[in-house]
């Protein structure tokens, strides 16, 4: 007897899985998303956040470029508050780049990408940060920044409003089968170890770089090539628009201004496993060197952290490697290919085209389930309302910079000064069952993503674990330490200049003023699952309604 049942189980909580979940519920199909970590904790949340106009792919990968053009325009309609419409420059800084230009212009024309060559003088007038090495500039108005976290949360919340259920930190460990038909999944809670079964009519494998591992549970093969990319975060935006190098896509040739920071990207290294993502010093150095060729201020800006993500490139059987491989995606119908009914995989692709990927695989599952309602995700905004901004983004940081004086925003209490996160922005997430660690709060609110890297706000969040989530002190303290430790892993790779001063302040607060190191040494962790496994983040117990309080509506009760 399964523990619960649904129409379709979506495995994977990245942009694709979130998009599929929303598409299913919009077609009236009951759905549940199962994710082994947190939402947006894999490829999506570790992308560089470039909303692709298609310019980057228009020479080598025309089909992917055309998809980007179309999807970018759709996202500007349905997810406009996850997008910073910065526009972008493609710049040549060498003779080799200049030789690439005719192909680039031609590719843009073929893909339908708006591309305007502007004089270097005009470009400098618009973007004074462009370096002295810049020889030629193309203005690509449809490049921009796409906030991957809000994109995922926006899709998931929209699906939840339609009754979808979400289980984070639940890994699929096996499948239920009736003959050659998949009839459900077995899951295990990564933190409690609890095992459950979910009955369903179909399963969609939207796990990107992990798709092969999921498929293997059914003894079928999905060849996904995990390719690592390293990114460096600078503490301010550096430029007003995205900057791409006008050449054959390579390492370190993108600068994306993203909210309060800028992201330099990226590298392309094939890795043995999607979770083996070491950050090498040569990669970090290369990002900064290459970025400096395009924009002044890259080498002098404060680098705040480095991070690595993994691309889920689908192996179409060609000889191509890494960037040579298509960024296109594929829907695999395992009934047709492997004789396993009720199981589909969606692989390859990129965040910019997540919606189209979701549409294609949802078309297939709908057909199999006999649902004829067509896809409508290209028309309905993520907030499901036409009239106002997405409520997820109704925050001062995203509505414009608050005036320093005379603005009521300036008098409001803040949990995170770096990212202007207010108590009311974090409070609802403490009541969400899918939120299990302070990292999850960070992904949903940006708390802790600014220059202090959680030195200040981690204490306030720990306090809220006690007051809002009713956790005990030791659990809250360990969760605070875990958040700081996770941030530290990224900080270490760019440890020079002001970073040393910041680290001394962080240590001054947490080790000297709070004596946190002694508590971590002395006290056994309150959660036995954590003992001896420092990689596991402290689990918060689910929110419990207390006497006299209105029970929190959690997803599983819907």
């Amino acid at each position: 007897m399964p523990d619960s049942s649904t129409g379709v189980v979506v495995i994977g909580g990245g942009s694709t899985g979130a998009g599929v979940l929303r598409d299913l519920t919009m077609r009236g199909i009951d759905a549940m998303l199962v994710e082994k970590g947190d939402l947006a904790s894999g490829t999506t949340g570790r992308s560089h956040g470039l909303l692709h106009s298609g310019g980057r792919y228009c020479v080598n990968d025309l089909a992917a470029a055309i998809e980007c053009v179309e999807e970018g325009r759709i996202l500007r309609r349905i997810a406009r508050t996850t997008i910073e419409d910065t526009g972008g420059y493609f710049v040549s800084v060498s003779e080799e780049d200049e030789a690439w230009e005719p192909r680039f212009v031609d590719g843009c024309a073929k893909a339908g990408i708006t591309c305007e060559r502007i004089s270097v003088e005009e470009a400098r007038r618009r973007e004074p940060a462009l370096s002295k090495h810049v020889r030629t500039v193309f203005w690509i108005p449809e490049d921009g920044h796409l906030d991957p976290f809000y994109l995922v949360m926006g899709n998931v919340e929209s699906a939840r409003r339609r009754g979808a259920r979400v289980r984070t930190y639940n890994e699929v460990t096996g499948f239920l089968k009736k003959g050659n038909r998949v009839s459900g999944v077995k899951t295990r809670d990564a933190m409690t170890g609890e095992e459950t079964t979910i009955a369903c009519e179909a399963v969609i494998n939207a796990t990107g770089a992990w798709a092969g591992f999921v498929a293997r549970l059914l003894d079928v093969e999905v060849k996904v090539v995990p390719v690592k990319g390293v990114m460096v975060v600078l503490s301010h935006r550096v430029a007003h628009a995205t900057i791409n190098r006008c050449h054959k896509p390579g390492d370190g040739d993108i600068i994306v201004p993203a909210l309060s920071v800028a992201i330099l990207g990226t590298t392309s290294v094939r890795v043995p496993h999607p979770e083996t993502l070491p950050i090498e010093w040569d990669e970090v150095r290369h990002m900064i060197q290459e970025g400096s060729l395009m924009a002044d201020g890259v080498s002098t800006a404060r680098a705040m952290r480095a991070y690595a993500g993994v691309r889920p490139l689908y192996d179409l059987g060609a000889e191509a490697e890494g960037r040579e491989m298509s960024r296109n995606f594929a829907v695999i119908d395992h009934e047709q290919r492997d004789g396993i009914a009720g199981f589909m995989s969606i692989v390859g692709g990129k965040v910019t085209t997540y919606r189209l990927m979701a549409e294609r695989v949802t078309d297939l599952v709908a057909r199999r389930l006999g649902v004829t309602t067509p896809c409508a995700t290209m028309n309905v905004p993520l907030n499901d309302r036409e009239d106002e901004l997405d409520q997820l983004r109704n925050r001062p940081a995203q509505l414009g910079v608050p005036k320093p004086h005379g603005d009521e925003l300036a008098l409001q209490s803040l949990v995170c000064e770096c990212e202007l996160v207010r108590p009311q922005d974090v409070k609802p997430w403490f009541e969400d069952r899918a939120v299990r660690t302070l990292e999850d709060i960070r992904r949903r609110t940006r708390t802790g993503m600014g220059p202090c890297q959680a030195a200040i706000c981690s204490y306030r969040l720990a306090g809220r674990l006690v007051t809002d989530r009713h956790q005990d002190g030791p659990t809250a303290i360990h969760a605070m330490a875990d958040l700081l430790e996770t941030r530290w892993r990224g900080v270490r790779h760019v440890f020079w200049g002001s970073q040393l001063r910041q680290a001394q302040v962080t240590a001054g607060i947490h080790l000297e003023l709070f004596n946190l190191d002694r508590q971590l040494m002395a006290g056994p962790h309150p959660d036995p699952a954590h003992a001896g496994n420092p990689a596991t983040l402290t689990t918060m117990a689910p929110p419990q309604p207390r006497e006299g309080e209105t029970p929190v509506e959690v997803a599983t009760q819907r």
Partner: protein, 422 residues
């Protein structure tokens, strides 16, 4: 500008060195390279909280602990400065605090064990009077009091954690939270806002009335965020305690540190009033050395060059927080002699994988001679008349042992003595 002795630094080591010189009747100039750590995280003077980086048991007798440390580690800056410097520096600081109008307590004989804002017990040596009632060596129950809308001290967190860590049972630690009189809910309070408000008598009385109304009979002592006055600390604390009718103790909060501000601002003012010139925000960028002596250091102050010619110099830099050391991608360079103090092939080498372990970068500084002179590669002093104190000394990290304050006092005192003799 000419001076007898120039002290460079903005933290406790620089203040103690300057006071030592001034007390001895010497003409000192104090040069601040940048913001003081006192603004951020200072609260108490910690001499030795733990014998090493890994022991869990706190040191009870800091002087005895330091003596043992000196015996075990003859290269440690405590050993170079000497126990007498710790004693002399502590006596000087204690006397100075009194003269400047502070009420502090504690001695090298015993550490206090004070609750932090996360509810951990922490060994501290010299502490403001306003913190002392929190001493956990006494069994008395504690009520933590916080304020709605003030995010930087969460009484529920401190109480819940201390109840476990202290081992006196849940009944002995409680938390309560007051709405502050006259403010809309949801408004922003910083520590400095609150500290200013508490200097207002009517405000303080209203808070006291509100607090008394919710205290029960079992209340013995009350722990509050350190916001009891921005400048008139002891007065505000004593008056508030009177109004409550129970001992009240302050707990250091997230930065800015009101306790540090009080200390810093008053000691600075006091030393200025007694005739010491202070040069603000003047990072040094070069020293001129001839015949083994430093003849001049160059500062950049308000955009212009400012050379300082002194007979001797005390470099009391604070690790990296004041920005005096230049941390490039591979090399950390000192601002005076342009020595490479540390070289790292990759920046990650400067750190431990865990934030909560000793950090290699914290030990970066000048190797010193037995007179605290900065040593060159051959072990000889870079300049005979230059002496190093505090975080600028290489080879130790005070974070794990909770010894930053004591090392600042001991080395600041000793460096000043050496400078006078040079």
């Amino acid at each position: 500008m000419k001076a007898d002795i120039a002290v460079v630094g903005s933290g406790l080591a620089a203040l103690v060195a300057t006071r030592t010189l001034q007390q001895a009747g010497r003409n000192a100039v104090l040069i601040w390279p940048g913001l003081s750590s006192l603004y951020f995280t200072y609260a108490t003077v910690d001499v030795l909280g733990y014998a090493d980086d890994t022991t869990v048991q706190p040191v009870e007798q800091p002087e005895a602990g330091v003596a043992q440390l000196i015996a075990d580690h003859p290269e440690h800056p405590y050993a170079i400065a000497g126990l007498d410097a710790l004693r002399g520096g502590t006596a000087l600081l204690t006397e100075w605090l009194g003269e400047a109008g502070f009420k502090w307590q504690g001695s090298l004989a015993r550490n206090l064990l004070l609750p932090t804002a996360i509810g951990t017990p922490k060994p501290c040596c010299l502490v403001p009077d306003s913190m002392a009632a929190g001493d956990l060596r006494r069994d008395e129950p504690i009520v933590f009091c916080g304020f709605s809308g003030y995010e930087d001290f969460v009484p529920e967190l401190a109480a819940s954690n201390l109840a476990r860590a202290w081992g006196r049972g849940d009944q002995t630690v409680r938390a309560l939270r007051l709405a502050l009189p006259g403010f809309e809910p949801g408004r922003l309070f910083t520590s400095i806002d609150l500290a200013r408000s508490f200097e207002n008598e009517a405000f303080r009385r209203d808070v006291a009335t509100g607090l008394r109304a919710v205290l029960d009979d079992g209340t013995v002592r009350i722990g509050m965020p350190a916001v009891l006055g921005l400048t008139h600390d002891s007065d505000v604390h004593a008056q508030f305690e009177n109004e409550i009718g129970h001992p009240v103790f302050e707990i250091p909060t997230l930065p800015p540190s009101v306790l540090g501000l009080r200390l810093f601002d008053r000691l600075r003012k006091h030393i200025q009033e007694s005739g010491v010139e202070i040069i603000w925000a003047a990072p040094a960028h070069a020293a001129e050395v001839s015949d083994g002596r430093c003849r001049r250091i160059h500062l950049k102050s308000a955009g212009r060059e400012l050379p300082i010619d002194a007979r001797a110099y005390v470099l009391a830099l604070e690790d990296t927080v004041d920005g005096a050391m230049r941390a490039g991608v591979h090399d950390v360079i000192d601002p005076f002699f342009h020595q490479t103090l540390a070289h790292h092939a990759v920046p990650t080498e400067r750190t431990n994988e865990s934030l909560f372990k000793p950090q290699p970068f914290a030990s970066i500084g000048y190797p010193v001679t037995d007179r605290l002179q900065p040593g060159g590669e051959d072990g000889r002093p870079l300049a005979e008349n230059v002496f190093v104190a505090g975080g600028a000394i290489a080879g130790y990290d005070p974070v794990g042992t909770k010894s930053r304050g004591g090392l600042a006092v001991a080395t600041g005192y000793r460096a000043a003595k050496e400078a006078m003799a040079a």
